[in-house]
Structures are given as C-alpha cells and as structure tokens.
Amino acid sequence: MAQSSTYDRTLSGNPQSATGRAYPNGNPDLGYNPPGVRNTDSAVPLHRNKPVIHDYACDGPAPGNLAFRWTYGSNVAARNRDPRVQVVQYNEDSFVLRQNVCVHWEAPFTYLLFGNEGALLIDSGATAQPHHYPLRETVDAIIARWGKARGRSRVSLTIALTSGEDAAQNQGLVQFVGRPDTTIVPKPLDVMKRFYGLGSSWPSGTGRIDLGDRVIAVIPTPGTHKDGVSFYDPYCDVLFTGDLLFPGKINIGNDRDFIASLERLKAFAVSWPVKWILGGHIEMMFVPGKYYPRFATYKPYERVLEMVPALIDEAIQYAREVKGKDMMLIRPDFVLFNGVSPDQRTQVWPADVPNINPPRPF
C-alpha cells in the first residue's frame, strides 16, 4: 500500500471520535508551519529587560480555540463545588471567563483581551459580592501572570459593558472601583456615547478602544438594551455581541432597533472578517430549538457558546417576522421574544427544525 501523509479519515483518525474534531489527530495537508505561529510569544527569553512587543498583525484569525466544555452547574446547586469563575484561555492574549451557574443562573461570559498597551474587560458578571464571585481577584491574577510573561509591570485595564443597564453583566463592576490604572466606561447612555466618541453619530458610527496594536471596534447595537454595544476584535476576528445575539432566549427591547443593529452588524461583517460571534450567555440546549428555563442551575445539555456569522442573517430574517407582533419564535440556535414575558411559551414548533427531546436530568 502506498504510504501518504495526506489525511485519510479511515487511517488517520475518525472525525466521529469523542473529541468531535474534524481532524482529531491533525491535518498534515495544512503544513507544519502555518503563518499564525508568529502570533505567539511562548518562547520569550528567560531574562528580559524590556517588554515583549507582541505581533497582533495576522492573516486571518489569530490561532486560538475554546477547547473545554463549560461548567454546567449541578442538580443540587447548594452542593456545587466547581470554580466560581471558570477561566478558559482562548489564546495567550484572549481569555474567556464564565460565572458559575450555581452562583448566578445567568452564568454570563466575560472576556479579557490584551494588547501591547493595555487590557480590555468586556462585561463584569451578574454578582457584585466578591466572596461569591471573585471576578476582580481572577482578572488581577490573569493580568499579573500575563504581565510577568510579557515583561510589563503595569498593565492598564479598560472595562466596557455590552450594556450598562443589564443587571446580568454590570454587577461585577463595583469590584473594580478604585483599582489603579483602570478606566471604567461610564454606564449612563449619554456619557457612554461621548466616551466612545459617538455623541453625535450614535448609533451609526463606530468607536474604538486601542489596546496597543489591537484596536477593538465599538459598534452601537441597541435593540435588546437601549444602551447595547457590540465589540469587534480584529486579532481573533470575533464579534462580542452580549445580549443582542447569543445562543439563548433573546428578549427584544425594541424591535426596530434590534433589526437595525443586526443589519449594522451584517454590514460590519462584510468589511471585516468574522470567525465567531461570542455572546453573553448560553441558554440553548445542544438539540435544536430547545432551551433552559430562566433560573436553571443545572444545564448538562448546553449548546456551545460560539455562533457562526451566518446566524446574523437568520436573526435578521426572523426578527422581521416578529416585528410589531407580541410573540416568541423558535429557531435552532436562538429564540426571539418580542413584547412577551421572558417565560413565554408557545405551542408553535417550527416546521423546518427537528423536534428532539433531550433526556430529563433525573
């Protein structure tokens, strides 16, 4: 038999394997030295006398992945012993933090991004009390470790929210009050607009947060919240959409704004590459169209966090269907709630979505 290094699934690893990865043992066709290798600083010298200048320029998305399953609470929330803040390193300069669902049912995601001149924390969690949810302590420790590796004694921190009014994302902010080298984007809508330089161009303009060779774009996206913004990271090619678009029950605050913001995101995604959309929560299950109820503290069948950019189009299409109507509408990866209770239920199941019942947790 001819020997070949070309990927052959029968010989080199079955994609149906437990990891579910398309190439469980790697794909030799992609070569051993892809360009993204230069976007890593793991081999910094032992003795450094000046800060490492990281190369944030890259072709396509910077290497990185979400390689771990999220903690999902426990049947008895009081007996849960998972970390209060789950930290997953996406890559050396990007971290995803998740609040334990047994501390707060919203289990929001918080993102920490680093550039050559500072760090950005996107959102702040649903719990203020540091002994329940030590976000500040965790962020400080990640920044300290990152700073040590990069030879920086001071790393300035900016904290921005996808919505200042969202109690599921703004509660942790108080933990950072008085922190040195820290800028907190003001919560009141008018002040926030001015901070981003959007005082006169909201919601059509785009703001920026420069982390040093990594410029995060600030895109006004009201619709679920009147002060909603999304962030775009041109390094990882990720859109952070908070409550606007996430795999869960999307409670529309204003349907005209919601559609306009999705269209703004769509236009943005035409001119900028988007690998993934990362929202603020997960409420969907891994079976299409099924979701966890509010306040659930045990979510063993949770969907993955990441969404593909094509979902913007789907969201626009179905947001137009619910526009002007008090109704909910189920799609495989999200559910739209317009003008109805967040606990609204429906007897209508979409004809094009397979109806699969996941097992009960007990």
Binding site: N75, V76, A77, A78, R79, N80, R81, D82, R84, N100, C102, V103, H104, W105, T127, Q129, H131, H132, Y133, E165, D166, T224, H225, K226, N251, I252, G253, N254, P293, R294, F295, A296, T297, F337, G339, V340, S341, P342, D343, Q344, R345, T346, Q347, F362
Partner: protein, 337 residues
C-alpha cells in the same frame, strides 16, 4: 387484610396476630411493659401550634447556601412541617409529617431524587426518633406512610429513598395506585378517614391542577392541606371545571368542619403580593405558607367571576386558569420605545 380494614383498623391491633403465635412471651411482655399511655388526639382541639415567622428561603448565591437541605419546623409536639431548601430545588415544597400513636404520615417530599444529594429519608428518620424519644416510644413500632398530595415529581421525587425502610408503605406513581392507596372507590367525592392511631386524617379528591390530587385534613391541628390546587403563589389550573368543583368541595368542607389553617405546598409570592417568577431560588420576603379560611372563600368568590383563561390575582393567590402552556406573569424589564 383488605384495603378497607387497613384504613379503618388500628395498626397495633392488626399486629397482634402476627406476633402472637411465633414469638413467645418475651417480646410481647417487653412491648407490653414499655407500651406508653396513648396520646389523646381527640381532646382540647385544635392543638395549638405555630408556623415560623420566616422560613429558610434560599440565598443570593446558591452554591454558598449553608442551610440544611430540609428545614424541620415542629408546628406542635406531634406535627412537623418539612421544607426543602430553595438552593436544592427551586420548587422547595412543604411537607407535613403527622404523628399518631401507631402511624406517621409524610405528605410530599421535594424535587431531588437521590439520598446522596439530599437525605430526606435521614431527616424523616431523625424526626421520628426525636418524637419517639420525647414520647417514650420505639421507632420500630410506628408504621410510616409516605404519600403525596398529587402526581408531580417535586412531590414524589425522593420516594425511593424509603424503599428499604422497615415498616413503611408508600404510594405508587399512577392515579390507580394513589386512589387505591387510600381505598377510595369513588374519587373525588368520597371522603375517607385515615387513622394514625387516635388521630384522624380526612382525605378526599381535589383534581384540577392535575387529575390525581387529594386534599388532606388533620383533625388534630385542623390544618387543611390543599396541595398545589390552592397555595400561596401561582395555582396552575389545568382543568377549570374539576378545579372549580374541588374548590366548592373545600368550601363545603369548611362550612361543616372547623379549619384552623389552609396550607398549600409552595410559596411563590412576597408578603406584599409580588410574584416570585417560576424557577427563582431566592425569595427573601416570601409570604407565609398558611392561609385563612377567609382567604380561601375570597378566592372561591373571585373564581366564580372567571369565565376566560388568564391570570387572575385574588389578593392571596394567582389563579392561572389554563395558561400553563402559554404565558406567565413576568415582563421583560428592558423594553423601551
């Protein structure tokens, strides 16, 4: 012994033929020697008792909750009321434990199955041990009946924790087994009397929230336990006419019997009438579980005006008339125009 005898005859009397022949005098003499004076459950009624000023009601962060899995409150020396911790399940139902001279009756459980997650069985055993110590009894002499108000998992989930407990009987999980457990042949109108040994529990059908539901009246404390068809929160009415008829049955009962308290299985409302939404695990200002007959009558009067499905507030409870599959009370706080 058929079902009727089981219900009406005193369990100790029934036990004599079993122990009489095979076991010799020693056991009989021993039990006779320690056999205490029966407690009188028929005089000085109703027994005075009290509910806690405030029940344990969850916490801001579930995983930081240090309260016991089950709160045990002794309403009076012969009546315990158990409540599941909200951080163990948002359902957190209440579960009365009634003691008689010969039997103990546990009504309802909580929404967690396994003993390693919450040891309801251990808590019930401890209550029985405590009561026996106070009253000079042998716990092994008491039969435990594990029953529930209705056929929903938050009321029976822990039932198999009792599978290996001696001298214990529990309800099956079908309508037939439930009705049969109380020896009824004419559900829901038929009212049967369960004798716990000098303490009578009156039981009749109370369908409406679900088909398979009972009302339980304890003649000693005069607590009328109305399950999930009437409780301080959202009474999910799945079938209007059967529910209305069951309410009428409760009212008729109150017209002819003294009732000290009306008690449901859950609390989902604050003292000032705010709804605690379905699934919440922290109810810092929750209303008391006990209600008055007057509140029951007011709710029934209100119900007589209801002609359409919908959610109605009687001043005491929410009547969610056939809305379960569609809507709820809560609103999106972030709506704007």
């Amino acid at each position: 012994m058929d079902r009727r005898t089981f219900l009406t005859c005193n369990a100790v009397a029934a036990a004599i033929p079993l122990s009489g022949v095979a076991l010799t005098g020693l056991a009989d003499a021993a039990s006779a020697a320690v056999r205490p004076t029966p407690i009188d459950f028929k005089s000085n009624l109703p027994a005075t008792g009290s509910f806690p000023r405030k029940w344990i009601c969850g916490s801001l962060s579930c995983m930081d909750n240090k309260d016991p899995p089950v709160q045990v409150h002794w309403y009076d020396p012969h009546t315990a009321i158990l409540r599941q911790n909200k951080a163990y399940s948002y359902e957190a139902p209440f579960a009365p434990l009634y003691f008689g001279n010969d039997r103990v009756l546990l009504l309802d459980e909580g929404f967690v199955q396994l003993r390693n997650d919450w040891d309801l069985r251990g808590v019930v055993d401890q209550c029985i041990d405590d009561w026996c110590r106070r009253n000079g009894r042998d716990p092994a002499s008491l039969e435990l009946l594990v029953a529930f108000s209705h056929l929903h998992a938050d009321h029976y989930a822990a039932v198999n924790q009792f599978a290996d407990r001696p001298n214990t009987r529990y309800m099956g999980l079908t309508h037939e087994e439930m009705v049969g457990f109380w020896g009824m042949t004419n559900f829901p109108e038929e009212r049967v009397t369960l004798d716990l040994g000098g303490r009578d529990i009156l039981i009749w059908g109370s369908p409406g929230h679900v088909v398979s539901e009972f009302a339980y009246y304890d003649s000693y404390t005069r607590i009328l336990y109305t399950g999930d068809m009437f409780y301080r929160g959202r009474c999910y009415i799945s079938f209007w006419q059967p529910w209305f008829d069951s309410m009428k049955r409760l009212i008729d009962f109150c017209d002819t019997h003294p009732v000290a308290h009306v008690m449901g299985c859950h609390v989902e409302i604050s003292r000032d009438g705010q709804d605690y939404a379905y699934g919440m695990t922290y109810q810092p200002d929750e209303a008391p579980v006990e209600m008055t007959v007057q509140q029951l009558r007011e709710a029934f009067a209100y119900a007589q005006t209801i002609t359409e499905p919908g959610i109605y507030f009687t001043g005491t409870v929410f009547l969610c008339n056939q809305t379960r599959g569609t809507t709820t009370i809560d609103k999106n706080p972030y709506r704007y125009s």
